[in-house]
Symmetry: C2
Subunit: 343 residues, 2 copies
DNA sequence: TTGAAAGCGCTAACAC
DNA sequence: GTGTTAGCGCTTTCAA
């Protein structure tokens, strides 16, 4: 079923069919309708390869997922929801989501990967995830004039559409809650500091502390890779400190669950001897012991916005740089609690 | 940088360049070397669109992920590792992994999605995940003569390469362990029965029971969607039974963690009052309370094999139907334990 | 408002 | 062993 056969079937020329299908204005309304309907009946789908040759349009959007330092992980559950939502939005508009991986830790290699996809015209635009403070991908795509949206902001002086969760606010809220419960020594189990989200979370945390008249203590701010294991290890480390934190705020629920395990091992009752908060409101956070106080954010909302902002770029409908900052909510459960008098 | 420019640069015809690059034998070894080297220097990459028009080769492999019934989830952490490993193997051979979603619950729509990808020549082959007992996708791809590998077997009478974990053995092992600890009333929190893996697990479970002279009790075999929530709900349901199971075997660690939460709520001490086992050896299984006895299996090994079997198909090197059955191991931790005398 | 025709970059007959 | 050439299916001038 090529445009050729379809045109023959309709007794029209292929160019008329093409124009009708692509919404050109110089086609009789009646003709267009006839074409569109017959195309649907026959299940005609333009060959993406042929199309991309002429128009350099691939009708695909690329995502290159950096593999975890630990290797093996394609994406975690979090990115699952995000990409699912993006795919849904794009799908409705005839775009496919091309998901690829990037194994090498070298930033140079990563940029090469983007260049290859651009050059081969495999994609019309990109979604960048795990945005870095100084993100070479943002620089590259901007320089090349390739449409893209980032999940997370960068600190480069480049205007571009982005979607982000209000990380700063989230961690300010969490910290304020711990402060209100009387905690003064609050640890932060953060993500890798090269990521913008980690910096923003730290900012929010430090702001809350300062507003309470406290000075952040570097020793209580540690970084891990967002897994249960790293939460466990980092917590064990913090608990070994001469002056240990009485409260912990974790970069995600998985780390918090690792933190809880470590506290248990140290004979501390979570929610009483030590106050722990997570982030993400994962299914697991509801069912761990004790249930985790955490920050809710609607991952799929973000995905939807990412998809929409990218489509707007691709349509070139809107030149203004749009963005979406997702609000956050605190969900109180039982893993946090007031500071002990002896704390 | 088209083959045209490259050919001019080399002072050769484009066909010679094409042949050299595609490894045809009728090219002087010296010429080939010169071409290959210059192509690399200039960073020449064939245009996938143009290539797919002529050769119907896209150098891409498709995976269509059915969205969860719950919606929103693109893939869970499990498929993350699997797809990551597949992508790695394919990547090394110049193939990209095209990951798409499928939203509609209708099987008809799903098959249409495959047909579209085939017809548009967007992919050269498929990896089918979550294989069903009667899988229309297997039927379709077989009928169309499109290369594919399945993760999980089907019960259709169709020979095709597959990779699977030894689900039957895994659940036989788990059941035997519970039996050895003196349990007689063993519940199975299974996955949806339409999936082959769920049937095989039930088979393994029932075989172990029968070999021990027991008859499986239908009321103790329940199905959920592999989330913590469903583990929680199903366990609450089983615990409400007049004659409740004293041991549970769960289809994955997430369900087991939900099960633990439910038991805690019912005032049961897991590992003592009730014996629970999971499956998957996830990071979370190590850090929950009590640490989960579970089944280890190497997800990324499976991904590697899937990639290799598919490449073999694509190369048409090997017509014999290959397969790989992954062995499993039991990991004993503290969530299971001997049956109570009063049990 | 429609049709004819020129390619996009590539592969694979076929000729030399 | 290498070059010539005919399309693959499509979009897009340009003519009618």
């Amino acid at each position: 079923m090529s445009i050729q056969t379809l045109a023959q079937d309709l007794g029209l020329s292929i160019s008329t069919v093409s124009r009708a299908l692509n919404g050109y204005s110089d086609v009789a309304a009646q003709t267009r309708e006839r074409v569109v309907q017959r195309a649907a009946e026959l299940g005609y789908r333009p060959h993406p390869g042929a199309r991309s040759m002429k128009s350099s349009k691939s009708n695909a959007v690329g995502v290159i997922l950096p593999m975890d330092e630990r290797g093996g992980q394609f994406i975690n559950a979090f990115y699952s929801s995000l990409l699912g939502a993006i795919a849904g939005v794009l799908d409705a508009r005839g775009y496919t989501l091309l998901v690829t991986t990037h194994f090498s830790p070298s930033v140079h290699d990563e940029v090469t990967r983007y260049e290859h996809l651009i050059h081969s015209r495999s994609v019309d635009g990109f979604v960048i995830v795990r945005t870095l403070l100084k993100d070479p991908r943002v620089q590259l795509l901007h320089d090349r004039g390739v449409p893209f949206v980032t999940y997370g902001r960068s600190e480069l002086n480049i205007e571009h559409p982005w979607v982000d969760t209000d990380n700063e606010r989230a961690f300010e809220l969490a910290t304020q809650r711990q402060l209100r419960q009387g905690h003064q020594r609050i640890g932060l189990l953060n993500g890798p500091s090269k990521y913008t989200f980690a910096k923003l979370r730290r900012d929010g945390y430090e702001r809350a502390l300062r507003n309470a008249g406290l000075t952040p203590t570097p020793a209580w701010i540690v970084e891990g890779d967002l897994t249960e294991s790293s939460g466990y290890t980092l917590t064990s480390q913090l608990l070994g400190l001469p002056e240990r934190p009485t409260a912990l705020i974790c970069a995600n629920d998985a780390m918090a669950i690792g933190a809880i395990a470590s506290c248990r091992q140290h004979g501390l009752q979570v929610g009483k001897d030590i106050s722990i908060m997570g982030y993400g409101n994962s299914d697991a956070s509801r069912y761990c012991d004790p249930p985790l106080s955490t920050i809710e954010h609607k991952v799929s909302d973000n995905g939807r916005h990412l998809g929409q902002l990218l489509l707007a770029q691709l349509d070139q409908l809107s030149t203004p740089t749009l963005s979406y900052l997702e609000p956050v909510d605190l969900i109180a459960r039982q893993s946090d609690g007031p500071a002990q008098a002896s704390g």
